[in-house]
């Protein structure tokens, strides 16, 4: 292809630079859209789905009973659960016999779809608002039970269904 022939003005570049400057100047008085992330965080809406985490109830008990439904439903197979027996000596609802020994969510696999939250019969897993999950190693992104519970905190349970089972 032939190059276009440049006029004298074109070869000077000055008109182009001035036009560009004008575009920039035009924007200075306008409203700013850019946010200073990470100093300034996003305001997330109520239904936002961040990383899935585990919660405790108001009595401090782990709510998950390791039914493994979330493990089953999780489309990218990010959840891995190791079921175990709940310590019967602990002052918990005696009828909940199961509790996960370990609960691993691989955040490199999770697609934040929220299926686990939806399927959970115990309201034990929630997609909270954490979205900036980063680490130096893949293993750091495999969140184990303790870490998940720490991220999840307490979820007030108005029903406490096991009381009346």
């Amino acid at each position: 292809m032939l190059r276009p022939k440049l006029t004298f003005l074109d070869r000077l570049y000055l008109p182009q630079i001035l036009a560009g400057m004008w575009t920039t100047l035009k924007h200075i008085p306008r409203r700013r859209f850019t946010r200073q992330y990470p100093e300034e965080k996003f305001k997330l809406l109520g239904k936002y789905r961040g990383a899935p985490v585990l919660v405790r109830n108001q009595a401090g008990q782990v709510k998950c009973v390791s039914c493994q439904l979330c493990e089953f439903v999780c489309p990218p197979k990010a959840i891995r659960l190791f079921p175990g027996q709940r310590d019967q000596a602990a002052p918990v609802e005696a009828k909940i016999e199961k509790e996960p020994q370990d609960f691993v969510i691989d955040m490199t696999r999770c697609i934040y779809c929220g299926m686990c939250e939806e399927v959970c019969p115990e309201q034990a897993i929630f997609l909270k608002k954490d979205f900036a999950i980063a680490g130096y190693k893949r293993t750091e992104l495999q969140f184990h039970k303790d870490k998940l519970l720490e991220l999840g905190g307490v979820h007030e349970d108005p029903i406490c269904k096991w009381k009346n089972k």
């Binding site: 039914c67 493994q68 079921p83 009828k95 909940i96 199961k98 009346n164 089972k165």
Partner: protein, 558 residues
């Protein structure tokens, strides 16, 4: 109509059944499911769950005892005013059974509602979830929501019934299958109900606990999660498990089983129906005999002189050493476990045919037997070992000759397939005299300590093959999980060894670097070929193929 059957109609479908057949079985013949909880084909009828209610009508008989006909010439049917339980009603000529009328549907819904009144809805923590009849039938026939607002009845939970079983009385639907099994099949009358009505509770008689070798079958037949096995409890949800039909390798009965595994780990074994062998039961010894499959100590790499080696080098080394010993006039003996498959034992026998040695035997292994299933012969495949020409008759009677041969120095090499011969009269002192001791096994033992070459094999759940049980029934194993590390099925090892021993490069017995030897193509690249060769040689297996053995096995010719 033949003399020994009667004709009836179930939901408009004509069914021909043997008199004495109950309506649940007759409906099954017609492909109709009558929901039930307490009925079990192998147990006496109790008729206490009332889930199997159906409408039953019989032809109306006239004064002459002949069926009265309507204007179209069809027999008039007299329907019973009340519903009948199908499990306890037997077929009779001209009977008409209706299983889907509004009356029946309403009755089932009522029964389901009653059953669920006191049943805890704790499916998330109940191990039966996923294989629970109550769950399934509640979805199929229940009404989907509860009208019960009162407090549920509370009963004992987590009651151990002996070390193997855990009882949760709240989940029990009082079908009495376990009571009948323990009384009629296992022969220990130890379970019963106390209290009445909705307070009825399953208990074990004071001072007793189920203590037979068949207790865990009550866990299988319990339609709900009231009885769970302490071994499997809370270990894995059943919907993750892969079911592989297999054969129990614990004794010569060869109960048909299902191996339940997930991602290479075996979680449990349960019996599989086979009327010719085990009906639908299996013994606890066999059932719990699976833990060795996932033993962390499993052998995973071939070892030459205790050093890890690759398969090519190990096979070449064994072949070359065997040929060298034979060239110098040393004798070679073999012991093949009757726990190996028939195919493996056949290849083992072939190997010794090639080496021109008749010094072969299996180690007999026996234990207590009982009247139900457990056989005193604890080798699952002694018949196969004899058919393959490995085991002597009676088994083990050539072992003394082998021991003497080793002691006198005539036998210089011993090949052992899956056996610990130190407990069969060939002790470590004798083994130390050998120039070559090769053992193919799955777990470390005194043998693998003493062996010059160790070849890691596969457990019964990791390979195909056949066993021939004490009654001469040939049955098939199927691979459920992968072998750990480099371990591989024994038939593959033996087929390669067979090819290597006769390969021209190794026949002179001269030491060679492993890479100076090119692996010959084995004659038996797959199990089908092994079986075909075996069937061609053994008259008892004439006309059989591996496929024709099928899921239920075949009786071999005597």
């Amino acid at each position: 109509m033949s003399e020994s059957t009667v004709n009836l109609t179930i939901d408009g479908r004509a069914v021909r059944a043997v008199p004495g057949t109950n309506l649940i079985e007759a409906a099954r013949l017609a492909g109709i499911e009558i929901p039930h909880f307490c009925y079990h084909p192998q147990l006496p009828i109790a008729g206490n769950c009332r889930m199997c209610l159906v409408e039953v009508g019989l032809p109306k008989l006239g004064a002459d005892r002949k069926p009265e006909l309507d204007s179209q010439g069809q027999p008039l049917i007299n329907f019973a005013p009340k519903l009948t339980i199908a499990c306890n009603a037997t077929v009779s000529a001209g009977m008409v059974v209706l299983t889907r009328t509004p009356k029946v549907i309403k009755a089932r819904r009522g029964v389901m509602e009653f059953l669920l009144i006191n049943h805890p809805l704790d499916c998330p923590i109940c191990d039966q979830a996923g294989e629970c009849r109550l769950q399934e039938l509640a979805v199929d026939y229940g009404q989907g929501c509860s009208r019960f607002v009162e407090e549920k009845e509370h009963k004992p939970k987590r009651t151990p019934l002996g070390p193997k079983i855990m009882l949760d009385d709240e989940r029990c639907i009082l079908c009495s299958r376990c009571i009948r099994f323990m009384r009629e099949v296992a022969g220990q009358d130890c379970l019963g109900f106390t209290h009445r009505g909705s307070r009825s509770t399953l208990i074990c008689y004071p001072g007793q606990e189920p203590a037979t070798n068949y207790d865990l079958n009550i866990v299988d037949i319990c339609p709900v999660g009231a009885l769970t096995s302490t071994d499997f409890r809370f270990r894995q949800r059943v919907w993750f498990l892969k079911e592989t039909p297999s054969i129990c390798p614990h004794c010569a009965t060869g109960c048909n089983t299902v191996v339940w595994s997930r991602e290479g780990v075996v979680y449990r074994q349960t019996p599989r129906d086979n009327p010719a062998v085990n009906q639908c039961w299996m013994c606890d010894l066999g059932r719990l005999n699976y833990k060795f499959i996932n033993d962390p100590n499993r052998l995973t790499t071939p070892l030459i002189g205790g050093q890890p080696a690759n398969w090519l080098a190990a096979i070449a080394h064994v072949a070359q050493r065997l040929n060298a010993i034979r060239a110098t006039g040393g004798q070679i003996a073999g012991v093949g476990a009757a726990r190996a498959t028939t195919e493996e034992l056949f290849l083992f026998g072939k190997l010794f045919q090639g080496l021109e040695s008749k010094l072969l035997d299996s180690v007999p292994r026996s234990g207590a037997s009982d009247k139900l299933l457990l056989n005193s012969d604890r080798n699952p495949n002694m018949r196969g070992a004899q058919l393959a020409g490995v085991a002597a008759n009676p088994p083990g009677h050539r072992l003394a000759a082998i021991a003497d041969g080793i002691a006198s120095g005539a036998i210089k090499a011993l090949l052992v397939l899956g056996e610990d011969v130190t407990s069969a009269g060939i002790g470590p002192d004798l083994l130390a005299k050998l120039e070559l001791l090769v053992t193919i096994d799955i777990l470390p033992s005194a043998m693998t300590q003493a062996a010059h070459v160790v070849l890691p094999g596969a457990s019964f759940a990791e390979k195909g093959g056949t066993f021939i049980n004490a009654k001469g029934r040939m049955q098939q194993l199927n691979p459920a999980v992968a072998s750990p590390g480099q371990a591989r099925p024994e038939w593959q090892i033996l087929s390669e060894l067979l090819a290597a021993v006769s390969s021209r490069a190794l026949r002179d017995g001269q030491p060679r670097a492993a890479n100076a030897w090119k692996k010959p193509a084995p004659d038996f690249p797959n199990l089908g070929k092994v079986f075909a060769a075996m069937a061609a040689e053994a008259p008892a297996l004439a006309d059989l193929t591996l496929e024709s053995v099928g899921a239920q096995g075949v009786q071999i010719k005597e």
